[in-house]
């Protein structure tokens, strides 16, 4: 599936990204918190943003922005809403 073109919400030297951690990944946020706003440099990747939220390397996740799956090296833009969740599987 082609990734839809990302809407540039305004590039700045630094930017803010909204991150929501779902399920067992919430243990990396303060108690009771599901979301955080990250202040990160422009061009921050998904991997970097997730690490900035406290999720350690080696933890398996899937992530999406606007419903589209994104991957470790996808660059985020200003005010992207990054949702990070345990892997999608099921039987």
């Amino acid at each position: 599936m082609k990734q839809p073109p990302r809407e540039d919400k305004g590039r700045t030297t630094a930017m803010q990204v909204d991150i929501e951690l779902i399920g067992s990944l919430r243990e990396y946020l303060p108690e009771g918190q599901k979301r955080a706003v990250l202040d990160v440099p422009a061009g921050t990747t998904v991997r970097e943003a997730i690490q900035a939220a406290g999720v350690p390397a080696g933890r398996t996740w899937n992530a999406c922005v606007d419903g589209a799956l994104v991957y470790e090296d996808t660059e985020l833009t200003q005010r992207d809403c990054l949702i990070v969740f345990p892997p999608i599987a099921g039987g």
Binding site: G23, N62, Y71
Partner: protein, 634 residues
């Protein structure tokens, strides 16, 4: 005697009543191992070409493997094979429970059943006796009633059954065989084959477990896995708490379009949170159960009184059932979905094919292809929960519109015409499972090429392997190349899928549960400990290739060619809303290229998918040509 095995295959001819026992050489066991290996061998070798799936000449091959009967988590599974009434080709399907271990303890590694009984019978298999018993008093009963009646008949409370309900008796083309009432040999219609033979159930209890060559090793590995399971990131305690379909996974899956809704046409179901496994256990849960010797205990038990009575012993819905009877049909009524799952278990109907067939009916209804005059007044629109349940009853009894929907979406659409083919979501006649191939694009390749039709258990779920992780390390050992995005369809992705597919066929020969996270090397170690063979991972993957190749040869012989290794048109189109609504369709050229690469990697001709002569020789399958069971490519 074959070390670690029972060493015997039971043969039953229902036409003559003849019962006999084969004792194959150890070489046979080493080459085909059990489970899917036995199924693939016997289907090609013994089932005559070109027969109707409901012919007495079709065979039911109920096969166990070297793990079954040994006290290890995830070891108690069986594999059933037959000529499929859905595909007219290869059917192969696994299930858990307790009955596989009982059959092994009764002294058999497999049961091969042919012919047709004049009147309904059940087969009783114990270490003391094998007999065909009258089943006239059970014909028409649910799988739950069947188990209770057989326990009374035999005077043995702990007797376990592999049974069919009225769905199988009426030869609904996707009828399944239920192990212990609630574990489904779901795909391919093997329950309909049993029904066509007037065989109601296989009932078993046994007292003589197989003896492994290295019992200490088996014990140590079991203890270690029982401790480690809960630490495994993918298969952790969420399975033990709610089974498959936990809230987070379903909500996320819906978010990205993986979870079908409205017959794969929408995949955007805001009510998802109402129909998850988490909601199931919170609102109706009655505890978790497991299969024999397994501490994971991932099986939901549920209980409902109103508005529909659901018996605690009927089993609860897995993810596939929650979605197939839920969002795929536009239904958000959890109690109705749970009831639908119970009906599927009691009537022995594959819940995936059932839900997708009903959804097909719903889409036809909403588009005016069928109307109230065809449905007998049943308002078969998406979202009608009571309509969904009524449809299940009609399908099981093959009444009214149920008779059409009981044929499966391929045949139903052929009969209806009027462009209803557009709504028929299947591969080779097998309805697509609840993981959308437009999201999991590597899995799309497996759906296309797998001999048994679209099978979500036969390949890699792309979204689990997009990063370096302990999970990816597991599949590196099978031959996977590198982590990749879910929508990558290049050569490395195909190689990843091929590796996992090979392992899946080996796993289905053991017959091992994929929810217990043994690595392939550990599973090979288990084979060594059971048998004393110097078995290797290389040998295991070669077996996987052997099984996949045998399945392909069988299909080719039955007239199923590479032209059927394609996903339905809907998968090349976006959905009406949600994540897949913009550029959501698969790229046909990339898919075709990926399928061709898969053929080549398997040692099959890239243009035709026909296994090469040299591949057959390498896999020890030259006999298939020499004995004229198959054709090969140069």
């Amino acid at each position: 005697m074959v070390p670690g095995y029972a060493g015997k295959i039971l043969r039953v001819d229902l036409t003559t009543g003849n019962i006999s026992v084969d004792e194959p050489e150890e070489e046979f066991y080493r080459t085909y191992l059990g489970g899917a290996g036995f199924v693939s061998y016997f289907l090609l070798k013994e089932v005559p070409p070109g027969i109707d799936a409901f012919s007495p000449q079709n065979k039911i091959i109920y096969a166990l493997g070297p793990m079954v009967g040994h006290p290890m988590p995830g070891a108690t599974r069986s594999c059933i094979g037959a000529k499929s009434p859905l595909t007219d080709g290869y059917a192969k399907t696994e299930a858990g429970g307790f009955v596989p271990a009982e059959i092994k303890k009764a002294g058999y590694d497999a049961i091969i059943i042919e012919g047709k009984a004049k009147t309904p019978v059940y087969l009783l298999v114990t270490d003391a006796t094998v007999e065909l018993r009258d089943a006239a008093h059970i014909w028409g009963k649910t799988t739950l009633e069947t188990q209770d009646i057989i326990a009374e008949d035999t005077g043995v409370k702990r007797v376990k059954t592999a049974a069919i309900g009225v769905g199988g008796e009426n030869m609904v083309r996707y009828a399944c065989v239920m192990n212990d009432v609630k574990d489904a040999h779901g795909r391919g219609g093997v329950g309909a084959v049993m029904g066509s033979k007037n065989l109601k159930a296989i009932a078993s209890f046994g007292k003589k477990p197989p003896i492994p060559v290295d019992p200490g090793k088996i014990r140590a590995m079991a203890v270690s896995m029982n401790k480690e399971f809960y630490d495994d990131v993918l298969f952790n305690k969420s399975l033990a708490e709610v089974g498959t379909g936990i809230h987070d996974m379903m909500v996320a899956g819906n978010e990205v379009g993986n979870q079908p809704s409205h017959n794969f046409g929408v995949n955007d179901f805001p009510e998802t949170a109402r129909i998850t496994a988490t909601a199931t256990m919170e609102e109706h849960g009655a505890g978790m159960e497991g299969c024999a010797a397994c501490r994971v205990r991932c099986k939901k038990t549920v209980e409902i009184e109103e508005p529909w009575n659901v018996d605690k012993r009927s089993g609860g819905p897995e993810y596939e059932s929650l979605v197939s009877l839920g969002s795929t049909c536009g239904v958000d009524d959890l109690a109705a979905i749970i009831k639908g799952n119970e009906l599927a278990n009691h009537y022995s109907l594959d819940s995936i094919s059932l839900g997708v067939s009903i959804a097909f009916g719903m889409e036809c209804f909403e588009n005016g292809i069928i109307g109230l005059e065809d449905t007998g007044g049943l308002d078969l629109r998406f979202g009608n929960a009571e309509g969904m349940l009524e449809a299940i009853e009609l399908i099981a009894r093959r009444e009214g519109i149920g008779n059409l929907l009981a044929e499966g979406v391929l045949r139903a659409s052929q009969e209806l015409g009027k462009d209803s083919e557009e709504f028929a979501v299947h591969v080779k006649g097998v309805e697509v499972p609840m993981h959308d191939p437009r999201v999991k694009q590597g899995l799309a390749v497996i759906y296309s090429v797998e001999a048994a039709g679209a099978d979500h258990c036969a390949g890699m779920h792309d979204t689990l392997f997009t990063q370096d992780s302990p999970g990816f390390e597991h599949i590196r050992g099978m031959g996977a190349i590198r982590p990749l995005p879910a929508d990558d369809l290049g050569g490395d992705k195909v190689a990843n899928e091929k590796a996992v597919h090979m392992w899946a066929m080996f796993r289905d020969s053991l017959v091992a549960c994929q929810f217990v996270p043994w690595s392939i090397d550990e599973q090979v170690e288990i084979v060594r400990a059971v048998t004393g063979w110097s078995y290797t991972t290389h040998e295991a993957l070669k077996l996987g290739q052997r099984i996949a190749t045998l399945g392909r040869l069988y299909n080719l012989r039955e007239g199923i060619t590479s032209s059927q290794d394609v996903l339905p048109k809907r998968m090349f189109q976006p959905t009406k809303s949600g994540a897949l609504s913009k550029d959501g369709g698969l790229d046909p050229a990339k898919m075709e290229n990926a399928v061709r690469l898969f053929y080549g990697m398997m040692g099959w001709d890239e243009d035709t998918g026909i296994p090469r002569r040299s591949t057959l020789a390498e896999l020890g399958l030259s006999w298939t040509i020499e004995e004229e069971h198959a054709i090969a490519s140069a």
